[in-house]
Amino acid sequence: MEDTIIKTENIVFKKTELLTDNELSYCPGCGHGTAHRIIMEVIDEMGIQADTIGVAPVGCSVLAYDFMNIDMQQAAHGRAPAVATGIKRVLPEKFVFTYQGDGDLAAIGTAETIHVCNRGEHFTMIFINNGIYGMTGGQMAPTTLPGMKSSTSPYGRDVEMMGHPLKMTELIANLPGTCFVTRQAVHTPSAVRKAKKAVRKAFELQKEKKGISFVEIVSNCNSGWKMTPVQSNKWMEDNMFPYYPMGDIKLPE
């Protein structure tokens, strides 16, 4: 019986080859794991494991290298774009990507982000925007929505006092060194399919050396938002998506 079921044409899902067997350290329901999976699937499908170097940030995904079965470096908080610059400049034929949270990429690392996008470094940036500092326990991020509660904006983000949420992706799309800028999500099967296509395109573009390819993934942080995974996905659709609209912002010429 079993033999007849396990036929290649019958397989609809299998463990991603390039993810390790280590247990994910993410909270159940968190988008980080899905984002990892689609990146690893793309690397696997492109057959570029031996030619790829990833850069992990400081944030919940600091241990990305425990899960992604590729050569990786762990960068200081916010400095992944500088680290990736160092790697890509000495290994220009390799595929290089950063994987960063919103605190990492859009607060402490703002200068590095803007400058790699302006210099036109030829690597891919994956930007996980969950509107909060997940790792350190749910503090306000540069991307936290107006009125949104966090441990350092316990009465909601007061934009008069705390400033406005930063749309980093729109900002860097204006810079001449970016070639592909898009905003995606990974909370539903159809969103995952679209996001994966975007990641694939971003990696493919590295071959053309046209500058930074940038994929923002608006994601949930059910723990930091103090919601169930299902609630958090609904809240994300209702509140994050209107402020951070899905879709391509800049396409290669």
Partner: protein, 355 residues
């Protein structure tokens, strides 16, 4: 076929980096060391050897570019001056913990704060006692001539790769800016060797390489610390360098490095005319510090003057070496001032001989 040239210290660093076969330089302009980046850009090292040179947006970015490229097993170097080196400290700590080889040059200027662009030696504590967070050391080389600015770049790369550790060349604005004759070493080929730990893309048959300084479990992190300390012990045993001048029959001793040591050489001659026998111990490595040699000389001389363009930082290491056996005093100028040979002699007479 070595080549003789008249060069600034900063230019010698840059030329030596190209000749040593460096793969990349990342840096940000700051006086008094901007000539390093300027010279490199003018020389088109990409055409000469294929070396990458990039002006970063900040010293913070520069040191993290160094981390990335060093993690690929490449020979990389950066340079800056005091405030810029302060900005790099988080990155330097990561590099030391991740055991990445690289060369860092600090052309020290007067501080604290924005300070002055004049030469100083007030970054001794920062270079030798950690600088960044956590338990780590840099090998610190202190050249005192333009010749050594060139030679030490090559030595620094050798130590960096032998011990997988960041090596700092601590010099100052005087040596960086002054022109002297240099015998340049011959061009070396850039290495094609890929160290086994480098992140260059994981082939199917090997485990993935990871460059990280993170160990969430304290037990594991302590092990990493033990490993680092064992390495530092080995470095102390094998890489402690110094030079002695007129020490054989010296009754008094000066300890000085870099620019101060050059001035002290003149003080030795002035003292001799007065019948004072004073020698000079010049640490060439500031870390590891030549404490054994100083302890030995403390058995011979009556007193030691530690001469440094600072408020007295190195003197702490001299005192630790001497263990209170003889008198040790500091003399120095601060904030970019350079002491004269007579000033030092007067200090020797007042603080050590007469004191």
């Amino acid at each position: 076929m070595s080549e003789l040239r008249l060069m600034k210290g900063n230019e010698a660093i840059a030329e030596a980096a190209i000749r040593a076969g460096a793969d990349a330089y990342f840096g940000y302009p700051i006086t008094p060391q901007s000539e390093v980046l300027e010279y490199l850009m003018a020389e088109k090292p990409n055409e000469r050897t294929g070396m990458v040179v990039l002006q970063a947006e900040s010293e913070v970015a520069a040191i993290n570019m160094i981390y990335g490229a060093a993690g690929c097993g490449k020979k990389v170097i950066t340079s800056s001056s005091s405030p810029g080196i302060s900005l790099m400290q988080e990155g330097i700590s990561y590099i030391a913990s991740s055991e990445l080889p690289c060369v860092l040059v600090n052309v020290v200027r007067g501080g604290p704060g924005l300070g002055t662009i004049q030469p100083s030696q007030a970054d001794y504590f920062q270079s030798t006692k950690g600088g960044g967070h956590g338990d780590y050391h840099l090998i610190v080389l202190a050249p005192n001539s333009v010749q050594e600015m060139s030679d030490f770049v090559k030595n620094a790369f050798d130590y960096a790769f032998k011990y997988r550790t960041p090596v700092m060349i601590q010099t100052d604005g005087a040596i960086g800016q002054m022109m002297e004759k240099v015998e340049l070493f011959n061009q070396e080929k850039r290495s094609k060797e890929i160290p086994s730990w480098a992140t260059v893309g994981k082939p199917k048959e090997r485990e993935r390489n990871i460059i990280t300084s993170l160990d969430l479990q304290a037990e594991v992190m302590e092990k990493r610390n033990h490993k680092l300390q064992a390495k530092y012990k080995k470095i102390e045993e094998n890489v402690t360098l110094f030079e002695e001048v007129a020490c054989d029959d010296a009754e008094y001793l000066m300890v000085a490095y870099g620019t101060s040591s050059r001035i002290c050489q003149k003080t030795i001659q002035l003292a001799l005319k007065k019948g004072i026998k004073v020698g000079l111990l010049r640490p060439i490595t500031l870390w590891p510090f030549p404490k054994k040699q100083i302890a030995k000389l403390a058995e011979q001389v009556k007193g030691i003057l530690s001469v440094e363009m600072s408020t007295g930082q190195m003197i702490e290491d001299v005192k630790l070496a001497v263990e209170g056996k003889i008198k040790v005093e500091h003399f120095g100028r601060m904030g970019g001032m350079i002491p004269s040979p007579d000033e030092i002699l007067t200090a020797l007479e007042n603080q050590i001989i007469g004191g």
